[in-house]
Symmetry: C2
Subunit: 195 residues, 2 copies
């Protein structure tokens, strides 16, 4: 089975391919880049769903082609959920250094990463899969793997940037959302086979 | 002549009414609140124009009713233009304190406020008016007037929050955009009269 993954982020493609391989899922992930606008909204589930519908509406992929997108955000407790739905913009502008500076002297380091996969099997049908991981913001950057806020997001004593793709997938928000999504695809496929 | 101003911000309504009065413009500004989604885009002119078209498309105002919206953003030089198009979200989350913290120890305090009025006289016609003011980020909050980032945005030695509505209008991004817009309305009206 072939699924289109619409994203501009190669790291995310690597993460889901690694997972699909580990799950022995006979799923081919085809990476395509399609520019589409995102709505300004704090609820990333709503953003992802709107984007998927927009992609269909504008005919950016074939009507019968199953595709998915993934949106994620870092929600920092002491910053009222900032940068949240605007994480990639904020990362581009102020980076990990900006976040560390905002949290300088702040004791409460709790943070949450959330990922939403919006999958459209065909037409305007959209199903979402959510993954969440609770961690903390480190006091400095550590590690060189991953991307974005990975070097400052700590889980179980290590930052995401100190983990391999497989290690990060096992615990990360995106790994959790991707697993739910791939399990759904596999069970739908086996149901079809049983028909 | 009556113009609908679609906004959830009463300060902005006060600002343009004050200006219209000073300009002896026989224009009535009716304030209405209509919820509409904003697109995620760094160019606020594009955002404002898209929003105006969306409002028409969804029939949120009558087809023949002239209306306008206003979008603005604070662009800080040392922060690569952050918070920019996402200023109101960033303000809500980290406030003036957050911006001051991000700029702690930073010498380059240059900042720019930009305002865009998107005016739709009827149908899908949209015309935009842009106003810009260059200033600097103060080292601490000063003043109690205005709203948003006004207490930290310095122009000519005073912050916008240390100015009256009229004083701020005379130099602010929004005052400049509003004046261009009102002058356009007035000249269109006098052209119609001359017909």
């Amino acid at each position: 089975m072939k699924l289109l993954f619409i994203t501009s982020n190669e790291h995310k493609v690597r993460e889901i391919r690694d997972l699909a391989l580990k799950m022995n899922a006979n799923i081919e992930i085809e990476h395509i880049r399609v520019a589409y606008p995102e709505i300004q909204h704090e609820d990333i589930e709503f953003v992802a769903e709107s984007s998927a519908k927009f992609i269909r509406k504008e005919g950016l992929v074939g009507e019968e082609e199953p595709f998915f997108i993934e949106d994620s955000g870092l929600f920092i407790h002491a910053l009222n959920g900032f940068p949240g739905a605007f994480s990639s913009y904020v990362f581009k502008k102020i980076g990990n250094e900006g976040i560390l500076k905002l949290l300088r002297g702040v004791e409460d380091r709790r943070a949450l990463f959330k990922s939403v996969v919006a999958f459209s099997p065909r037409g305007f049908v959209v199903k979402t899969f959510v993954g969440v991981v609770e961690g903390r913001i480190a006091s400095e950057k550590r590690g060189a793997s991953g991307f974005g806020f990975d070097p400052i997001f700590e889980f179980g004593g290590r930052t995401f940037a100190e983990m391999s793709v497989a290690e990060k997938n096992a615990v990360s928000h995106r790994g959790r959302a991707f697993r739910k999504f791939l399990n759904f695809i596999l069970s739908s496929a086996s149901m079809r086979e049983a028909d």
